[in-house]
């Protein structure tokens, strides 16, 4: 099956659920690190396919982030550049309160991030 997307994630649950099912780029980075990594991929010609600030769980609160980008590399997509840059700037406003989270809370953050990207994957698999 040909996939037109790649999921960039630092979420172990997303890796567990989707490894071997859809194209994954697992990057064990911070939340901000994922946003910056995706920005770099956009500069290489990938396009954003899901919103980088999906979810009402705020940056600084959850360590997990999964973002869908195009598999194809083309000309620089300025809409994607603007959106990821806006999101990086917006995320900086939130204080980091990730330290000291319990396993239960971390598991739940993983679950919510996984569910949000699952909804994007379902949309991507049913149409463009």
């Amino acid at each position: 099956m040909h996939f037109h997307f790649i999921v960039v994630t630092n979420n172990p649950l997303v890796r567990e659920r989707f490894e071997g099912q859809v194209p994954l780029d697992y990057q064990p980075r911070t939340f901000a690190g994922i946003l910056e990594y995706v920005r770099d991929q956009i500069h290489k010609g990938h396009r954003l396919l899901s919103h980088p600030l999906s979810g009402s769980v705020k940056p600084g609160e959850t360590p997990y982030k999964s973002i869908m980008i195009s598999a194809e590399q083309g000309a620089l997509d300025t809409d994607s550049v603007i959106l990821i840059e806006d999101c990086i700037q917006h995320a900086k406003k939130f204080r980091d309160r990730i330290s000291g989270l319990s396993e239960r809370v971390l598991d739940d953050f993983q679950l919510v991030d996984c569910n949000l990207i699952t909804s994007a994957i379902e949309s991507a698999l049913t149409g463009h």
Binding site: L49, S56, K58, V105, N115
Partner: protein
């Protein structure tokens, strides 16, 4: 479509042997309510508490708030698709127990959020400090998955609200309001001199704990569509949304949408309120493009002059908001946007994650990053153990003396993007 909404004023809730509404008091048979809750096989326990305005009570973590209502005349029943069948609602007569609410609480996820203080400085930020609340803290069966727990509590809350609402069926309302939206054809001849205005409501629809339902359908699966504004008053739109307490729309907000109320109040005076479009806020960017294309297309088909657009949530939906604005303005239709802000604790940062020069008329529900200190209250309904990690809380937010320092985003409804709050700028 025409709805008579009869308000029965409730001044107090009391536990009693028999459930009834009498002389402005809602008497609740706790055992009957618990039995209703425990019909949900995924719930094994239910603690019921009453929280009254002015009491030293903190309710947390709040999931949803629901107003008890019932259908008195006309097709269907309240909360279609869940409690009632999927008949089209919004016409005939409905009774509402005004001044009270059902509040569902419980930690669906470890970072579950939402505070309602019934007194003190926090009470000023939430409309639900002014209602007498029947609080349900529902306990899941062991090993229950989060999404099943959310669904069970959501449905239990709706059933209890419908049960209590039914008690007002034969009670004479204290006030009756009449709302009517004519057919499209009639709307052209009724007020030909007034600007044609509609309301575009964006519904949170990103996934687990970020969902809204329309007649039982998950809103992420809908294509933007037309709805009579009175349908929402009968519970056609309801919340499955647990995250971002300050700016999520609870079911109560949907039942009492102030944008709808204000547009009806101006109907025939300064504008012609033609109807309402509902759209969603998905995470997949192509879904956003499709939905904003459809929302703007429907506005064009309605031959509108102006549109009010309300957002729900933060970040991701900012993009939907701006897409809707640009595309509707692109049809030559003026827009007013309602949002809230995450402008940093000092209020000096960019407020939204997206912006456009066409967004020239924007109403803000407040800055969710604003810091507040909540005093220790005598009683907690629910549990405080996750206050440190709930949205806007931070390490040390629950202080040793019991006070909580947090951003107002922890408070249910604080920066509501329907304008259902008292925040203003001076």
């Amino acid at each position: 479509m025409k709805l008579e909404l009869g308000h029965i004023d409730i001044h107090d809730i009391q536990f009693a042997a028999e459930s009834a509404v009498k002389d402005g008091v809602l008497y609740v048979n706790a055992e009957a309510v618990k039995a209703l809750v425990l019909e949900e096989e995924n719930l094994k326990g239910c603690q019921l508490e009453i929280a009254r305005p002015g009491e030293s009570v903190r309710i947390t973590p709040v999931k949803d708030v629901i107003q008890p209502r019932c259908k008195v005349e006309g097709p269907g029943g309240v909360f279609p698709g869940f409690v009632s069948k999927v008949d089209t609602v919004g016409s005939g007569k409905t009774h509402s127990l005004r001044g009270c609410a059902v509040v569902t609480a419980g930690k669906i996820v470890g970072f579950q959020e939402g505070i309602i203080d019934m007194t003190g400085p926090g009470a000023d930020y939430t409309p639900f400090s002014k209602t007498v609340n029947l609080v349900m803290v529902c306990e899941p069966v062991d090993g229950l998955k989060q999404h099943d727990y959310e669904a069970a509590v959501r449905i239990a809350g709706l059933k209890v609200a419908a049960y209590l609402g039914e008690l007002g069926k034969d009670v004479t309302p204290d006030e009756v309001q009449v709302f009517e939206t004519k057919t499209l054809g009639e709307s052209f001849t009724e007020y030909p001199g007034l600007p044609r205005v509609a309301y575009v409501q964006m519904l949170q629809s990103q996934g687990l704990l970020h969902d809204t339902y329309v007649y039982g359908v998950d809103a992420k699966k809908i294509i933007p569509t037309l709805i009579y504004p009175t349908e929402g008053m009968d519970g056609a739109i309801l919340s499955g949304n647990c995250v971002s307490a300050c700016d999520k729309n609870t079911t109560y907000h949907h039942q009492n949408n102030p944008v709808v109320a204000d547009l009806y109040a101006q109907h025939g005076k300064t504008l012609n309120f033609v109807g309402m479009v509902i759209t969603n806020e998905n995470v997949y960017l192509a879904d956003k493009e499709r939905s904003s294309n459809w929302a703007s297309k429907l506005c064009e088909m309605l031959s509108l002059d102006g549109v009010v657009v309300s957002e729900e949530g933060f970040g991701n939906p900012d993009t939907d908001l701006i897409m809707n604005c640009k595309k509707i303005e692109g049809k030559g239709i003026k827009t007013v946007l309602i949002t809230d802000e995450y402008a940093g604790q000092d209020g000096k940062s960019q407020s939204l994650a997206d912006a456009d020069a066409l967004a020239t008329a924007v109403v803000s529900g407040g800055n969710a990053n604003e810091v507040i200190v909540l005093p220790k209250l005598d009683k907690v309904i629910g549990m405080l153990d996750y206050v440190d990690v709930i949205a806007g809380g931070h390490d040390g937010s629950l202080r040793e003396d019991g006070t909580i320092e947090a951003e107002i985003q922890v408070i249910t409804g604080a920066t509501n993007e329907l304008g259902f709050n008292c925040m203003s700028a001076r």
